[in-house]
Symmetry: C2
Subunit: 396 residues, 2 copies
């Protein structure tokens, strides 16, 4: 009878996240920042108008699937192949150092560095994983604006960001498998490998099917919905049969579609589903999870420390990898800086962790602070890194 009540919640969420999103854009920030702030402001933290509910959580989960599906579709495999080995090394260091940084910082803050049980270990790992994934879109925009997207640093940043998404997802899958303590690392890695093989086989079959259907019937309109169905099915299969994170499935579904030559069209439709309904609900729901009672002084200090680690670990990790691959000092710094911003994937990992009971919700505030401030700071730092040292200009 009172089913229509949730229309109001939904309207408030969509309106507030859109309006705050537009304000964010005024400051050259991604709209995600606005949606997060809308959640914090209209959630229990300040006004208490929007509350968590099973329904909103389900919409948010579906939003995550669609976000990872589109992320997969936007993964340009050719771009990745171009920079190849260099990007791989940069990504590996750009993932390992933040992973270690997040892990250690959380362990120290929680006081369990030298003596942690399985649950604590997983929580620390989760905080590490959250710091791994680069949100490259803001760097891409900044580089494009400066005309440096095709520079050595630009190409490396792009390639490495794609790979560190994939690495982040693999590490997440490994971490999530440890819910059951007796699980063995080898076994988990084997499951992940098996799932990737399975997805590749599905991908090959699907690509043939899509092409056949399109050739025979000429209409593309049905491809987006079958793509979305594929994302849902692979997500389910990943968790249910392989025991790895469902978003891995959605991401691989996206990669399968991106190889089908229909990614642009499918992505367009999936994005409508995302921005009209699901992703505002997801980002707002993350903001809603920030609770005022958690913001004690130690928590504020921890937020600042985590933020510093988030920034330094990417600059040092990515930069070190680049240096190792023979990039100049200056370009190495640029590459590291270009990978500082965190975004969607960090939030997705956080919400996965909370949903699985592996991550304390009190940690959402520091995570959001990291996402928002790294996003704000990356374009500024990146511009500085390009403009400040002019001596070797002709080399560009």
């Amino acid at each position: 009878m009172i089913s229509y009540e949730f229309f109001l919640d939904l309207a408030i969420i969509l309106m507030s996240s859109k309006i705050f999103g537009l304000i964010s854009r005024k400051f050259d920030l991604p709209q995600v920042v606005g949606a997060l702030l809308a959640g914090v402001i209209f959630g229990p933290m300040i006004f208490g108008i929007i509350e968590e509910s099973v329904l909103l959580n389900n919409f948010a989960e579906l939003g995550v699937i669609v976000l990872m599906f589109t992320a997969g579709m936007e993964t340009d495999m050719n771009e990745m192949k171009k920079t190849g080995k260099a990007s791989m090394i940069i990504a590996i260091f750009g993932v390992l150092i933040p992973l270690a940084g997040g892990f250690i910082a959380t362990a120290v803050f929680k006081g369990n560095l030298w003596d942690m049980n399985n649950t604590q270990f997983l929580e620390n790992m989760f905080m590490g994983v959250i710091l791994t994934a680069t949100s490259v879109s803001i760097s891409v925009e900044t580089l494009r604006e400066m005309g440096k997207l095709k520079s050595p640093a630009g190409t490396a940043i792009l390639g490495a960001a794609i790979i560190d998404d994939i690495l982040g997802i693999i590490i997440l899958s490994v971490v999530m498998s440890f819910k059951t303590p007796e699980v063995q690392v080898v076994q988990v890695l084997l499951r992940i490998a098996l799932f990737f093989v399975f997805a590749i086989v599905v991908g090959l079959v699907m690509n043939r099917a899509f092409k056949f259907v399109c050739k025979r019937y000429g209409r593309k309109r049905r491809v987006p919905i079958f793509g979305f169905i594929l994302a849902l099915l692979l997500s389910y299969i990943a968790e249910h049969y392989f025991g790895i994170a469902d978003i891995t499935g959605a991401f691989l579904a996206g990669i399968i579609i991106s190889n089908s030559g229909m990614a642009k069209y499918v992505n367009e439709k999936a994005e409508v589903l995302s921005y009209m309904l699901l992703s505002p609900v997801f980002f707002t729901s993350i903001g809603v999870k920030v609770a005022v009672e958690h913001m004690s002084t130690p928590m504020i200090i921890f937020s600042v420390i985590l933020l510093v680690i988030a920034i330094l670990s990417k600059v040092l990790g990515g930069g070190f990898g680049a240096r190792l691959m023979g990039y100049k000092m200056q370009d190495s710094i640029r590459i590291g800086v270009g990978m500082v911003s965190r975004g969607e994937v960090a939030l997705i990992v956080a919400s996965k962790g909370a949903a699985a009971g592996l991550l304390d919700q009190s940690l959402f505030a520091p995570i959001i602070i990291v996402v928002v401030i790294t996003t704000v700071i990356t374009p500024i730092l990146l511009k500085k890194s390009f403009h400040h040292r002019h001596p070797e200009l002709p080399a560009a």
Copy 2:
């Protein structure tokens, strides 16, 4: 933890309704028919793979809002003005006769024609309301194919179908208000009138705002989401503050957008939301509600009677109205026949009734039979009505 389980349900619903939809299309039937059958086949009636759930119901309800929103956007007010008075009279008879027919048939079947309490009265009324709304799309397609869309009969059918949607919604609002028995008809009509006035004021303000925003910022991308927010808000306000059916609000939101000159763009995006996710869930959920234990012999007989009444009442009602307005006998029959098919709105009214506890779920099977068979039969009858009598061909 097992949140990912619903991805599988969703995948099955989307896949089955899409595949059955494509099969329906092979037989020149709207995809809705396929989605309904998917629900009947995969629901408890046969395979029992898809079950009702709170989540699916919420998705379905949101689907109804989006469907009514798009229906509103597709309402061509200019078309309606063109045929004006004639369409109005045709629509009134094309609504009143089916309303009476459905009411009496149900009352006789339930054995309460001469002695019904408030609940029974409402259920009978609901069945009447379900028979009122014409699903004009299939007639439009058929007329277009025959090159008769702009014929006198074609124009009249189009205009009348729009008006009977609006009349159907008004009657639904009146009926739903009688949940509380002491409600007075005058009071309800007043509330509906007030809500229409309110919506018109909102519409005027919104149109100015939309135009201002578009002129100032030049980007249309945000209009669809604000349109959708408007649909959600007006739906909520209709139920919560005016006590009338929420879909009235969604429908009026659509009409507001249709007058803004941006209907095409907004409709495109809303339709993606609809066909990618929400409307397959809604139509399948209707099919799922058909339960085998209800299909007793009397119920089958009732289904047949209801079907006959559904067909005859539109042919006679619409035809009589047309005759009254001076259309030739032949055109009057064509007009009546063109209004036989029932579709989305009938199903939406049925689901509203069931959700409000005013309509017994056992009646879903006859309703679906009416929707499917009237949809199948309308193009056949319509073609016959145009082809069979050739004597006065030059008059066309």
